[in-house]
């Protein structure tokens, strides 16, 4: 391969957002170079065969928010993207029972009825309300945040004034939206349901990736995100990419290459070159310098502005707000290779529950207690877990008859008391397996290989500052026109010709590609 010395654009970091960004720039005819530190692209969205024959979606494991317009505009299916449905969520309970939510509406209702006749009905009303609200906030998620100076950024509820959309909401929906913006997930769900396991499992979506518990205010808002996928013509809120999460990144990289982008791996950027207040290129760790008219960073805001750029090139108040940007990590991951399927005490036979999500979230108290551990600097002794068995959805993930299991875990605080090391990482892994063994006793004996990932590993291996999975917490004061910093939420930066496109920008983390796409559209608009 040959690299021309000068590019129209350099994208730092080959995470999925960087790749989306590069693909859109290349599609518009620009010469683009992506520089990725690791030996493979994808960042938090990769598939790796760490134990021979077994493929792990090492970090990110399910997808719901990947924008349909990106799938269409980049023609990702022709590059191998296939998203398979994850149809159910089962919550095993300590008493040997379970709570299931299935693909079929009536089946779910019958199951909820078993736990609470009231909840079975409330569930439909709740779903309808969330559907409406998701439809109302969707335009915000899909747009570049407007200039906030005409609004009062301190008044978070001014978010609600955006768009004539909101005026069309009825009073009930309007108040519900206000509640969602301000309440805790647990409080919000308390108004609807009485079944503990249902409330806990639903509120879990509000705490993923945050350093908050289900009773912390602000966590309700994230409940909405789960309904966004549903109204976008993808039919199912959650899915699993065939070939693992890395297949998503590979398909985007394939599209970028087809449009002519160059992608270079094992090319770590040390510094952004700046001359007269504008970015002119990058210097690699190995000393190479590559120039470009525009530089785009797909790294998190702290890495981007505090590591790659000398602070003298940036305004002080901006540097300050980036320093204050909250980015504590709270999540870990355990990936397992299994010789046989887990047998859950509550559902001992093989069945559809093994093809969906399994959530260890028996009650809100359980989750809050898991959070309490983290608040005081420990990992949760009895953690919250979101589990899938990818080989049951895509048999290609493991050798025939064998399986892989993906366990997302909270809480594992980045600032563990006494610091992380290998011993404590494995102790964290043990806590996960011990907890799970209470629900599926055959599990420990079925493990052929185990990979434990803590925030410490996330920072070292894929460059997530403090191991925060979303490049910065998804709390309201860090969303929309405040992400990552006031006045700089439109993908531009205080440096001319320097842009940002990672999850640290609006609309935030998760595999959606929106940041990458909107940033590219911004760059192209500014191009003239």
């Amino acid at each position: 391969m040959s690299y021309s010395a000068h590019y129209d654009a350099i994208v730092i970091g080959g995470g999925h957002n960087g790749l989306v960004n590069a693909a859109y720039l290349a599609r518009a005819g620009k010469s683009v170079l992506v520089l990725e530190r690791r030996h493979l692209v994808g960042g938090a969205a990769v598939t790796e065969e760490i134990y021979p024959g077994f493929k792990y979606s090492v970090y990110s494991y399910v997808v719901s928010l990947l924008r349909p317009e990106i799938i269409r505009e980049l023609d990702l299916p022709s590059h191998g993207l296939e998203i398979l449905p994850l149809e159910s969520t089962v919550t095993p309970l300590p008493n040997g029972d379970y709570l299931g939510r299935w693909a079929d509406h009536d089946q779910t209702r019958r199951e909820l009825y078993r736990h609470s006749a009231k909840d079975a009905e409330a569930y439909d009303d709740y779903g309808k309300l969330m559907y409406h609200l998701a439809f109302a906030v969707k335009p915000i998620v899909a747009m570049v945040p407007p200039d906030p100076t005409s609004l009062s950024p301190r008044d978070l509820l001014s978010l609600l004034k955006l768009g004539k959309h909101f005026r069309s909401l009825g009073a009930t929906q309007f108040y519900a939206l206000v509640k969602l913006m301000t309440m805790s997930a647990a409080d919000f769900l308390d108004e609807w349901f009485e079944t503990q396991a249902l409330k806990a499992t639903m509120s879990a979506s509000g705490i993923i990736g945050t350093f908050l518990g289900p009773r912390s205010p602000g966590t309700a808002y994230v409940l909405l995100h789960h309904y966004l996928g549903e109204i976008d013509g993808s039919f199912r809120a959650w899915g699993f990419a065939k070939g693992g999460t890395g297949a998503i990144s590979e398909s985007i990289a394939g599209a970028a290459r087809r449009f002519g982008a160059d992608i270079r791996t094992e090319a770590s950027v040390a510094r952004v070159l700046v001359r007269h207040g504008r970015a002119t290129g990058v210097a690699l760790e190995n000393g190479d310098e590559i120039t470009a008219r525009v530089v785009v960073s797909g790294l998190d805001p702290k890495r981007t502005f505090l590591k790659l750029i000398e602070s003298e090139h940036l305004p002080d108040d901006f540097v300050d707000s980036i320093r204050r940007f909250k980015i504590r990590g709270s999540s870990g991951k355990v990936n397992l290779s299994l010789s046989e399927l887990p047998k859950f005490t509550c559902l001992p036979r093989d069945g559809p529950h093994l093809r969906g999500a399994i959530s260890i979230s028996p009650s809100v108290d359980y989750l809050e207690r898991a959070y309490d551990d983290a608040k005081y600097g420990n990992f949760s002794r009895r953690p919250y877990m979101d589990i899938i068995i990818p080989s049951m959805i895509d048999p290609g993930m493991a050798p025939p008859g064998k399986h892989v299991m993906s366990i997302f875990v909270q809480y594992a605080p980045s600032d563990l008391e006494g610091g992380w090391n290998e011993t404590r990482r494995e102790a964290f892994g043990d806590a996960v397996i011990d907890t799970l063994a209470q629900y599926a006793p055959n599990l420990p004996g079925a493990i052929l290989h185990r990979q434990v990932i803590t925030p410490w590993d996330l920072e070292r291996d894929i460059g997530l500052t403090q191991g925060n999975i979303f490049h910065g917490e998804l709390s309201l004061h860090q969303l929309f026109f405040l992400r990552p910093a006031p006045s700089w939420a439109d993908y531009r930066t205080p440096l001319d010709n320097f842009y940002q496109c990672g999850s640290g920008t609006h609309p935030g983390g998760g595999i959606s590609g929106t940041s990458g796409r909107l940033a590219a559209l911004r760059v192209l608009k500014d191009w003239k």
């Binding site: 149809e87 693909a103 013509g233 895509d394 290609g396 025939p400």
Partner: protein, 403 residues
């Protein structure tokens, strides 16, 4: 009340004992006087995705099947179908329509050359009488083996691996549209690399009395490869993605059309590639030659309905786009400017392409790839028009289908 006489009931297929035990949804569909599963599970999504990502097992026994044998078999078939049978090697399979004297399509199916003088033809409608009538003067026999032959389609990327587990025959060497004799757990079968999904896949033909053990063998071996019994709902989406037409839905068989306008020629159905006018005369060839010279009035093309357009139409009533959850099979008007320029006959949301797609008959003036047309959509009881782009089919065409 007296029970209904069992002769009056729709028949199950030879796999019924197995399929009925699995049919959780009790969603049955009629097919040529038989019942087959519409879907097995309560929703058909997983069955669809099995076709595209692992393997689906589909009971296609209700197909009509004819065994055509005798020294003149190839010559006879060359007279009745549009493809050139003289060049069809043993072990080869041809997809072909056949036409009436006016060159209008009567039916379509696959023709497998099982031996020098032996062919199996499949069709959607009964064709025995028509075949008999055309066989006059040829040294052939036409036998209806529809009842005595059961058939399973095993479709999807892992289908080859599954077959490898159950047979010693050279499955890996079997090319697209070829067939071979084989044994599956000592059961004699014919395996053809054919199907109605546009994916890697096989169809397995077996004597009806061996149907159940064949099903069991495949299900058992297929477990680790994600084998999933799939019904007609899933198949319908897959075949639209593959751009494969369906009789009675996308075209009216010439023999049943009450008026001329309902009939279609192979050219009009996108099957021009199957019409071999240089092979000598065959039923309908004079009319088809003329049509080829003068051009066809209609073409069957793909439509991609634009998402943004749907979004706008639905936003007007305060909703996100409402998509069909299963494939539809009704005739829907298609407009070019103020005039109707055609009609769509099947459509679905393609879960793999994340696109709303349809098959449409279009006036040749509006059939060129890239042409913008409008398809009628009903939004909250009101007729609206969504912008659509004319595309070529198949919509989805993975490399593995042929490799």
């Amino acid at each position: 009340m007296e029970a209904v006489n069992s002769d009056a009931m729709l028949k199950g297929t030879p796999f019924h004992s197995r399929t009925s035990a699995l049919c959780q949804s009790q969603n049955w569909r009629r097919w040529s006087g038989h019942v087959v599963a519409g879907s097995y599970e309560l929703t058909h999504d997983r069955e669809y995705f099995a076709i595209r990502s692992s393997a689906a097992l589909i009971d296609v026994s209700p197909l009509h099947k004819y065994m055509i044998e005798g020294p003149d078999a190839a010559r006879f078939l060359n007279r009745v179908v549009t493809r050139d049978v003289s060049g069809c090697a043993q072990g080869q399979v041809l997809y072909t329509p056949w036409c009436d004297e006016e060159g209008k399509v009567i039916d379509d199916g696959t023709l497998a050359r099982l031996g020098e003088e032996k062919f199996r033809l499949t069709s959607a409608e009964p064709n025995l009488l028509w075949l008999h009538n055309n066989a006059l003067g040829f040294r052939v026999t036409v036998g209806d083996v529809s009842e005595s032959t059961a058939a399973l389609a095993l479709q999807g990327p892992t289908s080859r691996e599954i077959l490898r587990c159950v047979t010693d025959a050279d499955v890996g060497g079997l090319r697209f549209f070829r067939s071979m004799a084989a044994e599956v757990k000592r059961i004699p079968v014919t395996i053809s690399r054919t199907g109605y999904t546009g994916d890697l896949g096989y169809e397995i033909w077996v004597d009806s009395e061996n149907a159940e053990p064949l099903w069991d063998a495949l299900i058992e071996a297929g477990g680790p490869y994600g084998i999933t019994p799939a019904g007609m709902l899933a198949l319908d989406v897959a075949r639209i993605e593959a751009g494969l037409i369906l009789i009675d839905v996308d075209y009216v068989p010439a023999h049943r059309a009450l008026i001329e306008d309902r009939k279609s020629s192979p050219f009009e159905l996108g099957l021009g590639w199957t019409v071999k006018l240089d092979k000598g005369s065959f039923v309908g060839s004079t009319a088809l030659l003329k049509e080829q010279r003068n051009g066809s009035d209609w073409q069957l093309r793909g439509l991609e309905i634009e998402w943004e357009s749907l979004e706008t139409l639905y936003a007007d009533v305060g909703l996100p786009p409402q998509l069909p959850t299963i494939a539809w099979r009704t005739s829907v008007p298609v407009y070019g400017g103020r005039h109707q320029v055609g009609y769509a006959t099947s459509g679905c949301w393609s879960p793999i392409l994340k696109k709303y797609i349809a098959l449409a008959h279009l006036h040749s003036t509006h059939a060129r790839t890239g042409t913008k047309v409008e398809m009628e959509v009903t939004v909250e009881h009101r007729r609206k028009r969504a912008v659509a782009t004319v595309t070529s089919t198949p919509f989805f065409n993975p490399e593995r289908k042929r490799s």
